[in-house]
Amino acid sequence: MRNRVREQRTLREMSQAELAAALGVSRQTVISIEGGRYLPSLPLAFAIARFFGLTVDKMFDPDEEEAGT
């Protein structure tokens, strides 16, 4: 699962700590999500998408292989 969290965050010139505070999670969790090591829960995924003014499917792109299933 690829996501655009890092891209959107850097576009807004935000630090990981600032994004974490805005989402109510830890900085380590933002790092893990950006690195693709952690898939957020549905509520958090919606919160992230809403924060950046995007839809969840724009924010999180399933891999081509997963999309085909």
């Binding site: 830890s26 380590q28 969790t29 893990s32 957020p40």
Partner: protein, 154 residues
Amino acid sequence: MTAFIRPRLRKPLRIALAGTVFAAAWAFRGGGAWQLSVAMEVTVLVGAVTTYVRAGEDNDEGALTGSRADERQKLLSLRSRALGWNFAMVAAFIGVTAGVAVKAAWWWPFLVILAVTGFAYLLGLSNYGVAEEGTADDVDTGHQTRSRSTPDRA
């Protein structure tokens, strides 16, 4: 119940309380055990203070210790607890098997641990909704099936 206690203080207080009760048990035992009890209490208090300091650190361990973990950190903790539970069950099974094999008198505490962990697992399945699957939604698909089986008039 612990809502009135600051999150950072909760785990250190739990450690201090549990450690103090255990140290008191040694003191209650009598004899020369009171010296061990005092040493134990000092160690527990040092441990509680160390836990309080670590709870202030900006990392996953600090968040868990400071009772301010987010969903990922709670998941980490849950997985670690599950691993610990698996190890306890395997160790208890080995203990009870070895105890029975050598005709030892100490086999039954292992059986108790095995039974408690097994019961806790079943309790978890019950509490977290395995038995609450609800009615299958075949009723809805029935409509779809009927419409498919209806001869096409076009």
